[in-house]
Symmetry: C2
Subunit: 186 residues, 2 copies
């Protein structure tokens, strides 16, 4: 099964990355330990970074769905905040795992970079819904407000995550995210 293989490779890679660091782990090593060839590994995951970032694709869809499900009368910023509950709930379900994952993410430049690319896709998934709520016509790409709002919300999410890792999860992510996103309405 495609999904099973991928999940297993991701598990192996995650362990190795946390044990010895992302850069000191080669794709060959991951392939060997996961019991498949280098070539096959690259067929399942486009890049080394994707091995531990593929799931973000699905998470992005979940967030976008949650956003679309928010009531129409809710203001965009509030709707975005609530859509992120998909993530905060994940954090609270597996705090330790999430913490080491985020730590690895934050101090590995190439992973940070790819993660940002994934968030750009999240942005593309969410922006149309925000544009709709703003009453912006979709054929006016020069209106930067939808992208700006979504990207800013994601920036708040990143800032909150960084703070969460910095305090080792002592302050709940929801609180930090409220503080970050609340810095605008004060």
């Amino acid at each position: 099964m495609r999904a099973t293989i991928r999940a297993e490779v991701t598990q192996v890679a995650l362990r190795l990355f946390i044990e010895q660091g992302f850069d000191r782990t080669t794709v060959d090593q991951i392939a060997a330990e996961a019991g498949l060839s280098r070539a096959s590994l690259f067929r399942h995951f486009g890049t080394k970074e994707d091995i531990v970032l593929v799931d973000l694709e699905a998470i992005g869809r979940q967030i976008a769905d949650a956003l679309a499900a928010r009531p129409d009368e809710e203001r965009p910023w509030e709707a975005l905040r609530r859509a992120f509950d998909v993530l905060t709930r994940m954090n609270e379900a597996e705090p330790d795992q999430t913490l080491s994952y985020l730590r690895m993410l934050q101090d590995t430049p190439s992973l940070r970079a790819r993660h940002f690319e994934k968030q750009l896709r999240w942005q593309e998934m969410m922006a149309p819904e925000i544009a709709r709520r703003l009453g912006a016509s979709p054929d006016r790409p020069e209106d930067p407000r939808p992208s700006a709002l979504v990207a800013a919300a994601l920036a708040c999410l990143d800032a909150a995550s960084t703070g969460w890792v910095a305090c080792a999860g002592a302050v709940p992510l929801t609180v930090l995210l409220d503080r970050a996103m609340g810095a605008f309405t004060d």
Copy 2:
């Protein structure tokens, strides 16, 4: 002179990247056309991306300085907006050049990724000043507000830049940036 060599290599690389695309241009080709060895090129620029992104370091410092020079009574968001005038002035001075530069940036994933890394450094340069203005104690890294505000402002800048490229520079960047950053205070 170090700076002279670098500027010349950057010029050559910029031309090649725009002519044939970033990915279809090899570092060897740039080195050959610029008249220096591959090894030397990598001594001046850490990566291929840096060849056209090194200057962002200095621009970041300029923006941070501009931010620090804003009056104390100005609200953080407004101060950030004004600090970006450093950039909008650059855009207006060389519209065509900036346009093709931004176009290349936006449709080359690896450049986008590195550009984001540079902006993270900008964020680190600006955040302390915003923290000061918020009266946040610097030894409380779990306060996500300074990072959130700065990152959100940069997100607005990116959204505005994207819009500016999308309309081929028809609407001034300052207008788009005002619109993007104004989406929060409405």
